[in-house]
Point group: C2
DNA sequence: TCAAAAGTGTTAACCATACACCCATGA
DNA sequence: TCATGGGTGTATGGTTAACACTTTTGA
C-alpha cells in the first residue's frame, strides 16, 4: 500500500514552476508597472520572474525574486492567479503563479534602474510582453481596481506621508477617471484611517496641502472588511 | 544564446502539479462540500483532486477531474488559490492549484454516491481533511461569501427552477444568518435577473411558492459587475 | 494682485433597514 | 377552521452624488 502510493506519484509528470510579479507604482501622475529585459529573452520586455526553489513556499519565492531583482522588501504582495496554458512558454512547459505587488515608487526608483534593465511603464502605454505576461498585467489591473474599490490598498503606493490631493490623483489614475474632490476627501476621511499631520507639503502648490499618514493599527484591522471606497457608478468589471 | 536559454531551464527543479476542487452544493437546508476517500490516503477524507496532464490547461484539468470523479460537467468553476507550502504533501513536494465549484446538488447526487466513496458534508461539520485541504475549504468558503455578496453566484447552487424562499434559504446558509424575507426578495427582484414562471412549487408549503428562473442573457452580462446583494452589515471578512 | 491649488457645506435622490399584516391552501 | 409558509408596503435614517464658493500664498 505504501508502495502503491509512491508509484502513483512516480508516474506523474512534473513541471517547471515559475513566479512572475506585476509590480505597480505611482509616480504622482499615472499608474505604472515595472518591467525588465531579462536574460532568457533579452529582446522582449517582461515581468520580473524566477523559479521556485525546493525549500520555498510560493509567496516566499515571489518575495525573494522581488527582493533579488529590485532590493524591495516588505511590500504589499498578493497572489493573483496561476497561469498554466500548455503553450504559454514555448520552450518548456512551465506553470507560472503570478503575484501582484504595490510599491512606494519614490523610495526605490534609482536603485532599480541602476541594478537592472528595468523601467516603469504607464499601464496605458505598455510594450509587447513576453509569453502571456500581457494577460497577467491585464488581470492584475482588473484585480487592483476590484480590490481597491473596497479595501484601503491605495496607501501602499504612496510614501508614508501624503496629501489628500495626492491620494485622489492616485485613485484617478487607478480608475482612469476624475473623482469629485469634496466627496472623495469626505469618504476617505470618514474611514478614520488617516491621521492629519501638522506639516504641509511645500513646493507643489502655493497654499500647500496637509500631510496625512495611515493609522497603521486601524489599517491592519480594516483591511479585511468592506469599505465601499469608490462610487458604485464608477465601477464596471 | 539559445543554448544558454535551455541550460537555464534544465537547471531548474520541476514539481508535481495537482488540482483540488472544493465542490459546493446546497440541499435546501445547508451548504455542503463534497468530499471523497481516495486511493492514496484511504483513511482520510479529502477534496477531489488529480494530476495535471501534459496537454492540459489548469482549468481544463480541474474540469476533467471533476467530470471523471463525479460525472458533473458545465458547472461553475473558478480558480481559488495556488497552494505550495514545501511541506504540504509529506511524500513528494506538490503544488496544488485549488478550484472551487458550485453544483446543483439534486441533479447528480445519486450518481456521485454510487460511483465513488463520496459524501456531502455540511460546512459546519467537516471531518479532518488530508494535507492542507482544510485550509483550502476555509478559503473557499471565505471566497464564496465574498463573491456571492456582490455577484449573482447563488443560482449555480439551485435547480433551474427555484422559488424565492429557496433562494433565501441558500443565502441564509451561505452567510449563516437569517435575512429578512421582504428585503431579500425586493433586492433580488430589483436586479431584474429573475423571470417569474406561472408554475408554483407543490408539496412543500400549503400555499405554494412561485418558481423563478434566471434570465440567462442578463445573467452573463451582469456577472462581472457589482450588485451589492447582501446587506453590508452582514459582511465581515 | 492674481493665478493655482486647497479646503469646505448643502441638498436631493436613493438605498438600506426595520417592521406587521393579509393571503392561499391542505390538513 | 386553522396552521403554515408565501407574499407584499411603508417609514426612517443614512449614504451617495451633484454642485460652487472661499482661502492661502508664491510669483
Amino acid at each position: 500500500m505504501q508502495q502503491r502510493m509512491l508509484d502513483q506519484y512516480k508516474e506523474q509528470q512534473p513541471y517547471l514552476l515559475a513566479l512572475d510579479s506585476i509590480i505597480f507604482g505611482f509616480d504622482g501622475e499615472s499608474l505604472k508597472v515595472l518591467l525588465v529585459k531579462r536574460g532568457v529573452e533579452e529582446k522582449t520586455w517582461s515581468l520580473m520572474g524566477g523559479w521556485l526553489q525546493p525549500n520555498e513556499g510560493l509567496e516566499q519565492a515571489a518575495a525573494r525574486i522581488l527582493f533579488d531583482l529590485t532590493g524591495l522588501s516588505n511590500v504589499y504582495l498578493e497572489q493573483l492567479y496561476a497561469f498554466g496554458d500548455p503553450q504559454r512558454d514555448p520552450i518548456v512547459r512551465t506553470i507560472s503563479v503570478a503575484y501582484f505587488s504595490l510599491v512606494k515608487i519614490a523610495d526605490y526608483e534609482t536603485k532599480i534602474s541602476e541594478a537592472f534593465q528595468a523601467r516603469w511603464f504607464s499601464i496605458y502605454d505598455l510594450p509587447p510582453l513576453l509569453f502571456d505576461h500581457g494577460d497577467m498585467v491585464d488581470l492584475a489591473i482588473k484585480r487592483l481596481r476590484y480590490k481597491a474599490a473596497q479595501h484601503p490598498l491605495g496607501f501602499e503606493l504612496l510614501p508614508e506621508k501624503f496629501t489628500i490631493p495626492q491620494l485622489k490623483k492616485l485613485y484617478d489614475a487607478v480608475y482612469n477617471t476624475e473623482f469629485d474632490k469634496r466627496n472623495f476627501s469626505r469618504k476617505i476621511l470618514s474611514t478614520n484611517l488617516l491621521i492629519k499631520l501638522d506639516e504641509k507639503q511645500k513646493g507643489f502648490s502655493k497654499r500647500g496641502a496637509y500631510f496625512y499618514q495611515v493609522d497603521s493599527s486601524k489599517y491592519r484591522e480594516i483591511n479585511n472588511s468592506f469599505l465601499n471606497f469608490i462610487p458604485t457608478s464608477e465601477l464596471a468589471f
